[in-house]
Symmetry: C2
Subunit: 500 residues, 2 copies
């Protein structure tokens, strides 16, 4: 028997089996799975009726990590629509581009977000107007139109460092399988309590909107990231898992309130968005008393490709947890050399991380050429450069475009960054290539120093020279109060590269 | 990107990521995942070459729970063939029927199994002949022919109580999804060690051949069930999970060696095949010191439909664990009344358990009418009668054909059996309907008494009358040394019903 794979089944399961379970917490508000489902179904009714959404229409959302966006992950699909969560960090002109590009017919906007008019979408403001609209809908569950599992269910615009943002199409099938594979590989259960530190408008919320629901776990919403609030919620809601990017983790560890908080409920911290340095990983484990792993993926891969889990039957290894990790179930990840052959697992031969998986996007919205290029030869080409060790663990050494070639030697900017990040005064660091007459390029470091500490350029260059090959040491170190960031807090290297 | 779903990915994952992990143990032999995969690939080469298997050809196996059968779960599919594991408890005439019905071109047989000739399959005997054949194959991995996920991968003949056994067709897609859904719902990890007490020639081995491999767990083979050997292996291999039928569990608990064995590694015992009584469940938990749950499914459903797990966020409940359980992820289970409407969740309105899921069979081999009847209206009709309690837990009250109707009252034979099973002298029990002039039918109990104990007919009838409505008490109790069993040890009620 073939039944279409769709994430809609996850909410339906929770609605039927766990109706009384408090599944969503936001501030003082607590929603059971019955409440969550009822609100999603009312949204579906409103979209199909009042807002005239036809199957396949795009419905855009512009808000932080609120329970309404979580509900939209299901309500929009129940209406037969395609969810387009927009990145609140984009500029109004970029948002207008996204809305026009996908031809959204509806925009649901939080009043704390700027008006991005003019656009052609019908707009609904969260708050009273939205609540009145839901309240006016029938209480009966909405019957979704028939699902084709290969149809697009979500579109995420990538923050791409060059050119206009492109819409990544993720299908019902891809989202469904990503959820079960991620949860299975990660050992998630219905007892897990997830704090949504990572924006749900980014990379499919790392799959959490789907698999936490399927298992009957708890979603704790965090409309805006704030380290003190994270720690308060971990204690108050007994959060078991945190998903963060390195800059978030750094600010949590540097938050003075940490010392007074009970974080004993934490089982695992998963760091993604950029490779965590081994020092950061060790500090998390030592200070929070839980396992820390890294996760790696792209919007285009739905997103998770690898997680740095220990191997079954082998002793836990912090060195392995500090790598980019092993492919999760359901993903074939290969590091391919220039001839598209897999590189040897020798820990030193770099190649491009490529992936084949049902999680990989169907393509970029209305961009067949860019799609063909990204999926050339049946592999998603990530643009990330990695080596593979003898045990199969990947280690990202660079973005293809971030690789620094200095005097014919490849310099991994990530390696130099990890080295500098281990210096006690360094709180943020990015290493980019700077043009150089003799060597072609040389490494240039951009550094933010921890408040109350001090470091000189010479001291930091010497720090690297003591630890790495001399050609890897930056020729210059530039200091900023804070490094420029986009999206989920990823440092904008392209921006730094362009600075003189 | 769409990639065909196939269980072949599971072995490939283990081969790539966990090559050095000892994945299969049989007696003194230990196979790493590299060994396991190498043997499966050699089998594929042999099937395609020497044994002339073409894509879609059926390859039958006749052996107990040996590592070779586990390897065949992958090797036959790698060759493009369809695996047909035959039930070693069938009579030669029945086995010949199965071989002829599916048109197997190859039969691999263990020398301890009877020769079932004449048949048209090419036969290979396990042992030296088989090992020589593998040794003669290339060492390179076999490249499987392209997989269509909707194609049949395995056929299991059901032991059906009436008529000839029918072949249940399970697809690549169904087997893949069953594995990830079962493992996710059950919380399996790569650290789990599974003892194969349940025959792999039955109901897809409950999915264990696939998901244990995907996660890099350990398969411990048990060629023939023996309670003392089970206990020895639990201690020696630090087994974490046991899957058993009630009669197996009873014999393990009654095994004198239990007292001297360290079974502290056990995390969970899962009882299927027939609903465990609450007394058995309690005894397992108290004496083995681990959680006991029930699992329910059919060959036709791939098999798992429900597991009696606790609900997330609610206190553990032995009463719930003694039910038939909740649907697992990926399965829509409904108890439907005569009008195909879901029965109320009131704990007392019976209906037929029906299921929609990708795990459900594609159909019966070359039996379109039987298929249409089993899948009528888009639901698998299980023939099992259940009630649903207010929390959604199913409780099987009977097989449709086992329901006893006495004086217009429905008598659940399962309820009466559980009542009798709680009597200290009763070791096996089955209750069936016996024709009766006045009442139409009356309950008749068949009982085996624990060695060294004693019980009379009057005493057992009185035991039930003290605990249940009088019309539910058996009118007769007949004693046997052992009740007749087929398949995985399920008691053959049809056989008892026909005895005078």
């Amino acid at each position: 028997m073939e039944v279409p794979l769709t994430p809609l089944d996850f909410l339906e399961r929770a609605r039927r089996l766990f109706p009384a379970r408090v599944g969503v917490v936001e501030g003082d508000r607590r929603f059971t799975y019955a409440d969550f489902a009822a609100r999603a179904h009312r949204l579906a009714h409103a979209l199909r009726g009042h807002l005239a959404v036809a199957p396949g229409d795009r419905v855009a959302w512009l808000c932080g990590n609120t329970h309404e966006l979580l509900e939209a992950y299901y309500g929009v699909l129940l209406a037969g629509g395609v969810l387009v969560p927009l990145n609140i960090r984009l500029a109004p002109a970029e948002l207008r581009h996204c809305l026009a590009d996908c031809g959204a017919t509806v925009l649901v906007r939080h009043p704390d977000q700027p008006d991005v008019a003019p656009h052609r979408a019908r707009e609904v403001l969260l708050g009273d107007a939205y609540e009145d609209l839901l309240a006016a809908q029938p209480a009966e569950p909405a019957e979704p139109p028939p699902v084709e599992e290969g149809a697009t269910a979500e579109i995420f615009y990538t923050s791409g460092t060059t050119g206009s943002p492109r819409g990544v199409m993720l299908t019902h099938r891809g989202l469904y399988l990503h959820a079960v594979h991620s949860a299975l590989t990660g050992g998630l259960t219905g007892d897990d309590v997830i704090l949504h530190t990572i924006p749900l408008f980014h990379v499919n919320g790392w799959g959490t909107p789907h698999y936490v629901t399927a298992l009957g776990g708890v979603h704790v919403m965090l409309p805006r990231f704030d380290a003190a609030e994270v720690l308060r919620l971990v204690e108050a809601e007994r959060v078991t898992r945190l998903f963060v990017v390195p800059t978030m983790m750094r600010s949590i560890l540097d938050e003075p309130a940490l010392a007074g908080r009970d974080v004993s409920s934490l089982r695992q911290v998963s760091i993604g968005g950029a490779p965590p340095g081994p020092e950061l990983l060790a500090e998390v484990e030592d200070r929070l008393g839980c396992t820390c792993i890294s996760g790696y993926g792209l919007t285009e891969s739905g997103p998770t490709l690898t997680r740095s889990l220990d191997k079954p039957g082998e002793p836990p290894s912090r060195a392995r947890r500090a790598t980019t990790g092993l492919p999760i179930v359901g993903v074939d990840v290969r590091v391919l050399g220039d001839d598209d052959a897999e590189v040897p697992w020798d820990g030193r031969t770099p190649g491009e991380i490529c992936a084949r998986s049902n999680h990989v996007m169907a393509g970029y919205w209305e961009a067949p050429e860019a799609t063909a290029e990204a999926l050339r030869g049946g592999w998603l080409r990530t643009g990330d450069i990695a080596v593979v060790d003898a045990d199969g663990y990947l280690r990202i050494v660079d973005r293809k475009k971030d690789l620094i070639i200095s005097g014919g030697e490849n310099v991994s900017s990530v390696e130099v960054e990890h080295c500098l990040a281990a210096h006690p005064a360094v709180v943020e660091v990015a290493v980019v290539g700077a043009p150089h007459e003799r060597w072609g390029e040389v490494p240039r470091a951009w550094v933010a120093v921890r408040p109350g500490t001090h470091a000189t350029e010479d001291e930091l260059i010497g720090w690297v020279r003591d630890r790495l090959a001399h050609f890897k040491a930056p020729r210059e170190v530039r200091f900023l109060d804070e490094l420029p960031k986009g999206g989920t807090g990823k440092i904008l290297k392209a921006d730094l590269r362009e600075r003189a």
